[in-house]
Amino acid sequence: MQVEKFYYDNKIVKAFGFATIIFGIVGMLAGLWVAIQFYYPEISMNYAPTTFGRLRPLHTNAIIFAFVGNASFAGIYYSLQRLCKTRMFSDKLSWIHFWGWQAIIAAAAITLLLGKTTGKEYAELEWPIDIAITLVWVVFGINMFGTIIKRREKHLYVAIWFYIATWVTVAMLHIVNSIEIPVSFLKSYSWYAGVQDALVQWWYGHNAVAFFLTTPVLGLMYYFLPKAANRPVYSYRLSIIHFWALIFLYIWAGPHHLLYTALPDWAQSLGVVFSIMLIAPSWGGMLNGLFTLRGAWDKVREDPVLKFMVVAITCYGMSTFEGPMLSLKSVNAISHFTDWTIAHVHIGGLGWNGFLAFAILYYMIPKMWGTNLYSKKLATNHFWLGTIGIVVYAVPMYWAGFEQSLSWKAFTPEGQLKFTFLQTVINIKPLYILRSIGGSLYITGAFIMVYNLYKTIRQGSFIPDEAAEAAPLVKEAGKKKEYWHRILERKPVTMLIASLILVAIGGLIEMIPTFLVKSNIPTIASVKPYTPLELQGRDIYIREGCYLCHSQMIRPFRDEVKRYGEYSKAGEFVYDHPFQWGSKRTGPDLAREGGKQTDSWHYTHLYDPRLMSPGSIMPRYIWLLDDELDTASTPAKIRAMRTLGVPYPEGYDRIANKDLARQADSIAANLKKDKIETSSNKEVVALIAYLQRIGRDIKAEPKPIAENK
């Protein structure tokens, strides 16, 4: 048979590889910066874009979408061509994908620092960027499928199954979770409210971990590990079972982020059991990786690429075992809202994603420059710094999470809470210092890698188009009896559709009843829409990322009810577009904040939290005291809310600003009583209005006595 000659496109891999390195460093430095704010809040510099609430989304987005995203793309573009024995379908599409993705990252960085956010974790980007992501994702999909269609390899290797599942599921997750109603160019409200928004968000959030941080990276493991170790994959059968089981089961597990919340119990239980069932499919990937190294363990001692991979896969195994354990209600009751979760995700992030990204960079770059790695010793040093960094990061965070949670739950024998919230924070500050040391070690390692790769590139010469040859694919006339899955491996489109159907099931079964069955969210008559001023204040709350440290979800626990008040009910959140339950309690819960403190307390506290709570680690929000509220946006916001079904009266958008001014004046007058002079059009007034409203509606009857005065 005639052998065809063709060239692999290395230029696009190089571009994605460089982007991985640059954004990896940026994302890690942003992480270190926010880590330091935990014990040295002054490093926020009292400047809005560098406060925790705005830098934290930058950190997570940079790591997830820029660092791991670009690493996955680099690895996919490298491996897909070689596994399909063809060049990418279209160089033009490759470059549109590359520049489109980098433009999205740049836009994300700018808008997040400006406080333009939807307020939904890991989906913070505003609607124009959401649309851009969709378009670029489609370009990527066309390019990937084009390549698969024109392949010279009859069957699709397991890595490609994972790439296909990644593409189709991320598309579904992104589109469903990003449905929002635009208010202005960079402001929108989530289509969903309260419990429903929470369900959709964590269906997305959990599966962003599954299908952006896990499946593509598993695909990379399936290509780069056997290549680097020069060993056959351990079990084809295991690949099939763990692949299909993984993508089917993962989708269901989202509600485990909402245990003990106002989410209906049945949905919580589904989240629990599907998380537990995920252990085996996840470990299937780990076993297939580690057992592939059978007979090659001597190489692990020598080869930095394999070293990184072994730790990456081990971390994957650990966090996919820990995850299901954290999904058990009794464990979740301790771990949720604490640093335990932070430790857990960083085992995955630093260990699994980071180390695998480093491994493929160490593998691909010498290959593409036709040389050997500049220094194995430096790579080994990077490996050890990274590994020690992970341990020094994770252990203090586990400790902090455990200690803080137990302190929250501690009662005196008299039945009083043993610790104030602030005490529990002050107690764990030393652990935050340790954590940032661990992070610094990890980043130092990354810098060593940059130097090592730079020297490697300098000593080699880049091969932009790598020659290869293979026989073209010919249609076989006679039908041969094949294993059923082999047949599927010849049909990429069938595989795409099968994956889509499989991943759609879980979401549909959880969402449809939550949206349609009324008993899932019992209405509470006294819960009313926000006033225009409160709505504006809420948008400031979202803009400053308050939800990243303050939850608004009192779980039905003795200590939380004692500390914060009556536990949260599903009906309280029906006007919350988007929901603001949060996932971490660096500060206390605010679900019943309304009426707990005076207006002047809030004013002073926002000016400098340490004046009211010495030892607090909250940043100062000085600019809120100076900046004027943008009331021009009020009518559009009211109209948008009306479209979403919030029962403001018809035509209210025209008179809303009058109500707003009236309420603002009364707050300003209230502040004046406590000798605080402020004009009523400042942003802080709106924020105070919102803070004083949260969680009050349910207490509306009987009216608090104070209101009679």
């Binding site: 056959p232 994959v233 059991v273 008299e414 403190q597 207490k699 608090p704 209101e707």
Partner: protein, 406 residues
């Protein structure tokens, strides 16, 4: 060497099973009241857990070391695992015993709660635990150094041994327990498993699924069925709300018992001025806690948002009963009710501490507010108005901190 590496995984599995069981058995524990004794102190608990974890690590490392030593020596052809396991068991039991022995004094010391405490427990207990942890760390380092030494020696030999091993393997493929556990076939028989796939040079084997993995998967599915059945069909496990009500009921009972035993039953009618320095000191600790009184009244009680508490003027009355009532129920000028945060005894202590501050003349005091109050002269009107307020609060059991109208 491979064998010893994987021994770690085996040890992971056992706690896994236990945790799974926990999921079944103990969902109620989550919101339940904390156990008494040293286990209610989170810091001590973490230390104990750390000690146990390190002990487990020591056990694993010792196991690896012994295994490595055994491979190196190759003394007997009999199963070497058994004596090692026996030794390990002894080691663990001994370790566990010594740990418990050290815990005993720790518990008793905490009960008497000396003033010199670290992290909420007695200094002695802390130092004992810290030194145990320190010793454990040293043992770990020693073990690691030894393992590294052994492995290095092993590596040098590897080249020589490999050839002889190969011939041995051809004769009779030796399957370790680990290989059997995973249904692993010897590497030498790999060609039989090769599927003939070739993707860019990557071949695929068709090894059988590790049995423990497969049965583990079935087990989790069984767990799922039983879990859903218990919570949503047979209703034999409590859902969130029920779990909450149970835990509160249980805790309330315990508190009631405790208070009955201890006699903490003062209220605004029976409270008297405490003069015991210990009580005043306790009151001061509560007052100066950053989340309590100081936020509004300043550390020296000179007044900030709230009034000066050291002068002769009182808005809601200045005798001990008035103070107790004001703290307990809050005021309509912005002070919150503290009855959910402080016990009756604690409120009495704070009130007494505040009384003790009278006339301390702090710098920069807030201007006097309220009416002049002289000791022994009961301010009837003020007391009455606050009494009315407190009664209505009691009637409605309103937990809301009383604030200005919104």
């Amino acid at each position: 060497m491979l064998l010893s590496f994987f021994k770690k995984s085996k040890n992971i599995l056992r706690p896994a099973g236990i945790l799974l069981m926990l999921g079944f058995v103990q969902p109620v524990w989550a919101a339940g009241p904390p156990a008494p004794s040293i286990f209610s102190n989170p810091f001590a608990l973490t230390l104990i857990i750390l000690m146990l974890l390190l002990l487990i690590i020591i056990g694993i490392l010792a196991n690896i070391l012994l295994g490595a030593a055994d491979i190196k020596l190759r003394k007997s052809k009999k199963n070497p695992i058994a004596p090692i396991a026996g030794f390990m068991l002894l080691f663990l039991v001994a370790g566990g015993n010594s740990l418990l022995a050290q815990n005993n004094p720790a518990t008793t010391v905490t009960a008497t709660a000396a003033a010199s405490s670290i992290g909420g427990m007695s200094a002695t207990a802390f130092y004992i635990m810290a030194s145990v942890i320190f010793l454990e760390l040293i043992v770990i380092i020693v073990l690691l150094v030894n393992i590294k030494f052994l492995l290095k020696a092993e590596k040098k030999k590897a080249v020589v041994v490999e050839i002889s091993q190969q011939t041995e393997a051809e004769k009779k493929p030796g399957l370790s327990w680990w290989d059997r556990f995973n249904k692993l076939r010897p590497v030498t028989q790999e060609s039989e498993l090769d599927l003939g796939h070739d993707y860019d040079g990557i071949r695929e084997l068709n090894n059988r699924l590790p049995p423990w993995w497969l049965y583990g998967f079935y087990l989790t599915i069984a767990f799922a069925v039983v879990y859903l059945w218990r919570y949503h069909v047979s209703h034999s496990a409590p859902l969130s709300k029920e779990e909450f009500e149970n835990s509160v009921a249980r805790a309330d009972l315990e508190v009631k018992e405790y208070l009955k035993m201890k006699g903490d039953n003062v209220d605004e009618n029976t409270v008297t001025l405490l003069t015991d320095p210990a009580d005043i000191e306790a009151g001061k600790a509560i007052f100066t806690n950053p989340m309590n009184c100081v936020t509004c009244h300043r550390a020296d009680a000179g007044g900030l948002v709230g009034p000066n508490l050291t002068d002769d003027y009182w808005i809601y009355g200045g005798n001990i009963k008035d103070l107790f009532r004001t703290i307990k129920y809050g005021t309509n000028k912005g002070m919150k009710s503290w009855k959910d945060d402080l016990s009756a005894k604690q409120i009495a202590q704070v009130a007494s501490y505040v009384k003790s501050l009278h006339g301390t003349n702090p710098a920069n005091p807030k201007a006097p507010q309220g009416e002049l109050y002289k000791e022994e002269a009961v301010m009837k009107p003020a007391a009455d108005s606050i009494k009315a307020l407190s009664d209505s609060v009691k009637a409605k059991d309103n937990k809301v901190a009383m604030q200005q109208a919104k």
